[in-house]
């Protein structure tokens, strides 16, 4: 790790002002990703501002709001996944969080940090390798390299990395929004689908959070998916591994007819990927495996695989069908 100045903040405004004052400062919440990246010399802040002791206006991990719930940006993944309101009303979010990392890491990781975690592309992680995300204009090693884990949607010649979060896949499916404060005290709400970016020509930017801004909460509107939802994660190892492909699925059924549907995918793009084409196809149709399959194939038509990840098209198709089938049957485990 490069040397850095350490400070601990309790007042959000002061923390944000300190960050604004130094373009090389970063916030430290759970630390599970930033410290990993600093040890690899990928992240190089010269100042860390510990925000674990900030006193936010929202005290609880999860609060009831008029339109739904508000999830504390600094709350830990574990307490979020186990909050009774989330487990009861947004079980897909609990499952997604619990599908990620390990118990220890979920105990440490903050919700805001989960959103801001960086890709696990191994070229990004290895400073000896060219990488446009880590160092703009050096090239993308993965594009012509070992890209089995990489994107099939929304990639650019500059970057084919995927976003590693499970939680975010559920959040985009749930139409969440990210509540962000800045040092001047203004607050903005970013729709979740707009929070993360596609790489385009600016792959070094993962999301639309500005330097010095703080995620104070994630808001999730009420929905009627709780009884028919699921988060499916397909990986190379049964647990403690990043997704090859994952699917968050929620259904609101009217008898067997799909009234509303949400499908999002992980492990396929630079951002959590909303399967809008499949959603449009299925809305109003009977919830059958045949329809699920047709919708999934429709969604996957737009995929642009790389040399080593062509399997993600069939795997993604199957994962959508499987996740929807489990959701349709009440969303138990596999």
């Amino acid at each position: 790790m490069r040397p850095f100045k350490f400070s601990s903040a309790t007042d959000p405004a002061a923390a944000m002002q300190a960050a604004i004052a130094n373009v090389h400062a970063q916030f430290l919440a759970g630390g599970t990703n930033i410290l990993d990246l600093m040890k690899e010399d990928v992240a190089r802040p010269n100042e860390l501002i510990d925000i674990n002791r900030l006193v936010l206006s929202q005290k609880n991990a999860v609060a009831d709001t008029a339109g739904g719930i508000s999830v504390n940006g600094l709350a830990k993944n574990t307490e979020t996944a186990n909050d009774p309101m989330i487990r009861q009303n947004f079980p897909m979010l609990s499952q997604a969080i619990l599908a990620g990392a390990s118990a220890q890491i979920r105990n440490m990781a903050s919700n805001g940090g989960n959103l801001n975690q960086r890709t696990r592309c191994s070229y990004f992680y290895d400073v000896a390798m060219p990488c446009n995300k880590r160092e703009p204009n050096t090239g993308c090693s993965a594009l012509q390299g070992i890209n089995r884990m990489h994107a099939i949607f929304g990639a650019s010649p500059e970057c084919v990395a995927v976003h590693p979060s499970d939680m975010c896949v559920a959040l985009v499916a749930l139409d969440a929004s990210v509540k962000v404060s800045d040092s001047k005290g203004s607050i903005r709400n970013i729709p979740f689908a707009d929070y993360h970016r596609l790489p385009g020509t600016t792959p070094h930017l993962d999301n639309n959070l500005n330097h010095g801004e703080l995620i104070t909460a994630i808001e999730i509107p009420k929905n009627n998916f709780a009884g028919n939802s699921y988060y499916l994660k397909v990986r190379d190892r049964a647990s403690y591994a990043f997704a090859l492909v994952s699917v968050a699925a929620g259904l609101e059924l009217n008898d067997n007819e799909i009234k509303t549907i949400r499908i999002a995918m992980g492990g396929v793009a630079h951002k959590p990927w909303r399967a809008s084409a499949a959603e449009r196809f299925l809305t109003g149709k009977p919830a059958t495996e045949i329809n699920f399959r047709e919708a999934a194939e429709l969604e996957m038509k737009n995929a642009k695989p790389l040399e080593h990840n062509k399997f993600k098209i069939e795997l993604g198709t199957r994962a959508i069908v499987k996740a929807l089938s489990i959701a349709m049957n009440g969303g138990g485990k596999i």
Binding site: M1, P3, F4, K5, F6, S8, L28, G30, G31, T32, L35, D36, K39, E40, L48, D50, N52, T78, A81, N82, P84, R87, Q88, P91, S94, Q95, L98, A99, A101, S102, A103, Q104, I105, N107, M108, A226, K233, A238, S239, Y240, G331, G332, K333
Partner: protein, 254 residues
């Protein structure tokens, strides 16, 4: 710091050990009692010596050497961005001045001489460094010591009470829940914290019923395996680890 002259009662077996390995100090021990320096010397002399059965209490030995650890807890000459932090480790207040970069793992191992906590990967990918902070299992390799101000930290060295093994430690021995032993402190800390998580009814990815909380939760083997998957074991002791945890969790001897 432990008083140099504090006298320690020795069991006959321990007496035998001192006589055997340190005959030159036997007279002194007989008159003054065993002292910290004797234990330190014994540790050196034993090298790899392992006495069959548990007649020699490693924990008592460890407690004696803790005095030496305090002596080593000196910040290096060229400390950068130093941070002062006070934390409670295994019930004992520890004041440290560290480089801002120092992880809790390195603080425990390199400064406090609590080397039971292991560095397996240093990147949050193996679980060997698991410790319990404020009742939660966490990775000490991804925790800066600087963030531990006022925290209550429990490591593998703090689980046994006055030489009596924690039930989980005893179960790991009984079920042979380890081979090389390197991941074991992390496994055991993780398993101990898991018991509280189950009591609180916390869910995992393989929990059948997410909606509505069962507390306390009765863990199936599948649940134990998923919840322990953050602790890798290259020797492959997993089935025995599950047996040990199952026994402690169920309260039934197997």
């Amino acid at each position: 710091m432990q008083a140099e002259n504090k006298q320690t009662e020795l069991t006959p077996a321990e007496e035998k050990l001192f006589e055997e390995l340190m005959p030159e100090d036997a007279a002194e021990i007989a008159t003054l009692g065993v002292q910290r320096r004797h234990f330190l010397k014994l540790v050196g002399l034993m090298g790899g010596g392992i006495i069959a059965a548990s007649m020699f209490d490693n924990n008592a030995l460890f407690a004696q050497t803790a005095g030496a650890s305090a002596a080593r807890n000196i910040p290096p000459a060229s400390l950068e961005n130093s941070v002062k932090v006070t934390m409670r480790v295994n019930g004992k207040i520890q004041k440290l001045e560290t480089d801002s970069r120092m992880t809790l793992l390195d603080a425990l191992r390199e400064r406090l001489q609590l080397t039971g906590t292991k560095k397996g990967c240093d990147h949050g990918q193996c679980g060997a460094c698991t410790v319990i902070i404020d009742e939660r299992r966490v990775l000490s390799c991804l925790t800066l010591a600087a963030t531990c101000e006022g925290k209550n930290i429990k490591t593998i060295e703090g689980l046994a009470i006055r030489g009596d093994l924690h039930a989980m430690q005893a179960a790991f021995i009984k079920h042979d829940g380890f081979q090389c032993g390197f991941c074991t402190p992390g496994q055991i800390c993780s398993a101990v914290a898991l018991m509280s998580e189950a009591n609180a009814g916390e869910a995992s990815y393989v929990t059948e019923i997410i909606r509505g909380k069962n507390r306390p939760l009765k863990l199936t083997d599948e649940e134990i395996k998923e919840r322990m998957s953050g602790n890798l074991c290259r020797c492959g002791a997993y089935p025995n680890i599950v047996s040990a945890i199952r026994e402690v969790h169920s309260g039934k001897s197997a």
